[in-house]
């Protein structure tokens, strides 16, 4: 078992620019079933051996696709998300960084009631080891196993997964939920999916400064979860008022500090690794017999 994607996933690529083509190729190489790509006006052609459609709806009709990954540049990205939902996809992961906040605010509001799950934007995507790769993660560092990984950051997801794999601890599914202020799948959504997945025996959650998603997750973990959670919060040394790379990573008005998030998580029974180099070891110590 896994969450979000597995070998039954039929994936579409929305946006076949340089990034889209590169990562479509890497996903196919990993064994992902990429059934088509979307490039308005180029329907009926092939790009790198991938069948191209003008619209997502047409691609779904022709291929039975149930998921997509979005590489569309920021001005058209929210539009691409809504097109994916309109076509009835179950999942879309939006990799695009730099989407205007109000575009996402409106898109998120428009998605209320839609059965589609959005992951991202500004995220690395989702990997279920040896089954499916959606997005841009270096899937070769993952290995199948019992740990669910969820993170706001891309490269820090790789770091955590690498630490786990080096300790011989594999993953059910790894996902990055994105570093923007407004995102589709939240920590609580991802934790709910992992909690309901019988194969996920432990969870690594990687947060960062800014907003209050980690505090809300702590509350949820305390009241609703049995699966043990290990966490790391990036930005313990970030100065207030400075945006640390991600649009959402900023301590503003005294809110969003790492120390408050760590305190909330620890109070919820989460094992928090203070060093980013000890995420794997902290999990191994927290969940005996996991390795």
């Amino acid at each position: 078992m896994a969450i979000l994607c597995d070998r039954n996933t039929k994936l579409l690529i929305q946006g076949l620019g340089r990034m889209g083509r590169l990562h479509a190729g890497l996903s196919i190489e990993y064994g992902t079933n990429v059934v088509g790509g979307i490039a308005p006006g180029k329907g009926g052609t092939e790009i790198d051996g991938i069948a191209v459609y003008d619209t997502v709806a047409e691609a779904v009709r022709e291929t039975g696709a149930n998921a997509s990954v979005i590489f569309v540049p920021p001005p058209g990205a929210a539009d691409a998300i809504l097109e994916a939902a309109d076509a009835g996809l179950a999942l879309t992961a939006c990799i695009t960084e730099g989407i205007p906040a109000l575009d996402m605010l409106k898109a998120k509001s428009a998605l209320a009631g839609s059965p589609m799950r959005l992951v991202g934007p500004n995220c690395p995507g989702v990997v279920t080891p040896e089954q499916c790769r959606i997005g841009i993660m270096p899937a070769q560092i993952t290995r199948p196993g019992p740990v669910g990984v969820v993170s706001r950051s891309g490269t820090l997801t790789y770091e955590a997964v690498d630490q786990l794999s080096r300790l011989g601890i594999g993953q059910t599914t790894c996902l990055g939920i994105g570093g923007d202020p407004v995102i589709g799948t939240t920590f609580i959504d991802a934790l709910t999916l992992f909690e309901d997945d019988p194969d996920t025996k432990a969870i690594v959650m990687i947060g960062e400064i800014g907003g209050s998603a980690e505090e809300e997750a702590a509350e949820f973990i305390k009241s609703q979860m049995k699966t043990p959670v290990t966490a790391f919060i990036a930005g313990q040394n970030a100065p207030p008022g400075k945006r640390m790379g991600h649009a959402g990573a900023i301590i503003a008005g005294g809110k969003g500090r790492a120390s408050d998030k760590i305190k909330a998580l620890e109070a919820a029974g989460v094992a928090v690794s203070i060093s980013p180099a000890e995420i794997g070891e902290t999990l191994a110590a927290n969940v005996p017999g996991i390795a």
Binding site: P74, P75, G98, I99, P100, A101, L102, D103, L105, K106, S109, A110, P124, I136, M137, P138, I141, S151, R152, S153, G154, T155, L156, T157, Y158, E159, D162, Q163, G179, P181, V182, I206, E208, I209, G211, S212, A213, E216, F232, A234, G235, Q236, N237, A238, P239, G241, K242, M244, G245, H246, A247, G248, A249, G253, G254, I274, S275, P276, A277, E278
Partner: protein, 390 residues
């Protein structure tokens, strides 16, 4: 992106939000002329810097004649203004805004922000105008009114009335608040603001509502569709290193330690600062070279890091998802060679083509310390600084 008060007020005016009449001045003589043009019995001379707390810091002065305005401007222009928002280094004042005085009956607070937890817009109002809203929220939270607005539905009349009557305004003032807040909301949506704050919003002696101070932040991600807003950027208000980084598309934040950092990805870059700290060292900067880091970018990043005289060692930490470690390695070798690097360099490469990258570093003939894990990277960087006698 932040803008100055005078720029914010220009935009408010454009959207029909009432603001006092005012003029920008960069010399005392211009301030005197501005006061004369305004013809008001009292004018206020206000320092234009991107920071709050100007009044307490001596950056706002009342003047009762054009010559007093000239004198006030001569005191404010060129001063280094230090408030709780400028940091200890302060900000040099280069411009003042000369504004007609208002007869203040009562002060309120009014703001529109993006609320990340509800994923909606939030209108915040309070009877405690002119105060720091964070203090009000901490000490007297019952004095803060807030309500959510769905961006697809828009701000409704009843919501404005709820705010107005909630603030204790009379029916006449509520009728004035309706177009005021409606215009403010239109501005927010049309210009892709991320925060609009009117503090204080004043009720004047004649019963009008006026935005006495205004702070507008804009969403950097939306500037591509607002060239008029992007043109309001004042590079003089930015940290010179951050400005330079911005120009070469790197995310950089200067810190006060001595280990320069170059990392790919914002999360890993923050975690690199954390690991240095755990290992007993202090980072000199945050630097996210991004997903598309190549040879040129690596060199530019090195130059930026080395501009900081405090840097005693450099730690390069790359986890290649998108980026190829061999290309980064080539960039590091070229940069270290061309710049004649004199401080110790620790490089950790993992992920995409990491083995190839490590071979390039080892074969370069340069004194580069390789690291395998994140912990080793932190420990070696801290040791390198200590080895240098610091």
């Amino acid at each position: 992106m932040n803008v100055h008060e005078y720029q914010a007020k220009e935009i408010l005016r454009e959207f029909g939000v009432p603001v006092p009449d005012g003029r920008l001045a960069t010399t005392p003589a211009e301030a005197e002329e501005a006061a004369r043009e305004l013809g008001s019995s009292v004018v206020v001379v206000k320092a234009q810097v991107h920071a709050g707390g100007r009044g307490k810091a001596g950056g706002v002065k009342l003047a009762k004649s054009p010559s007093e305005a000239k004198h006030a401007a001569s005191e404010i222009l060129g001063m280094t203004l230090r408030s709780h928002q400028t940091g200890p280094e302060g900000k040099v004042v280069r411009k003042v805004y000369v504004e007609a005085g208002s007869a203040i009956e009562k002060e309120y607070y009014l703001a529109i922000v993006i609320d990340r937890s509800t994923e909606k817009l939030s209108i915040i109002a309070s009877t405690e105008g002119g105060m720091d809203i964070e203090d009000v929220a901490a000490n007297t939270p019952e004095k803060i009114l807030s309500l959510s607005v769905d961006g697809n539905v828009g701000l409704q009349g009843f919501q404005i009335r709820k705010i107005g009557f909630g603030l204790g305004l009379g029916a006449d003032q509520v009728n004035k608040l309706v177009p005021f807040l409606d215009s403010l909301y239109r501005l927010f949506m049309q210009k892709d603001a991320s925060q609009v704050e009117i503090n204080p919003l004043v009720l004047t002696g004649s019963g009008d509502l006026v935005a006495l101070d205004a702070k507008i932040n804009f969403d950097d991600n939306a500037l591509y569709r607002h060239p008029d807003v992007a043109a309001l950027r004042d590079p003089e208000e930015e940290d010179p290193r951050e400005r330079e980084a911005h120009e070469i598309d790197l995310a950089y934040v200067g810190l006060d330690g001595n280990i320069g950092c170059m990392v790919n990805g914002a999360g890993l870059a923050m975690a690199t600062l954390d690991v240095i700290n755990v290992c007993g060292g202090t980072p000199a900067n945050f630097l996210d070279a991004g997903g598309g880091a190549d040879k040129e970018k690596v060199k530019a990043a090195f130059e930026l890091i080395l501009n900081d005289a405090n840097v005693k060692a450099i730690l390069v930490n790359i986890f290649g998802g998108i980026v190829r470690c061999d290309l980064i390695a080539e960039g590091v070798v070229a940069a270290a060679g061309e710049l004649g690097l004199k401080v110790p360099l620790v490089v950790r490469l993992q992920g995409n083509n990491a083995d190839k990258g490590r071979e390039i570093l080892a074969g370069s003939g340069l004194d580069i310390t390789p690291a395998e894990t994140l912990r080793e990277a932190g420990e070696l960087a801290v040791a390198a600084v200590r080895g240098g006698g610091n």
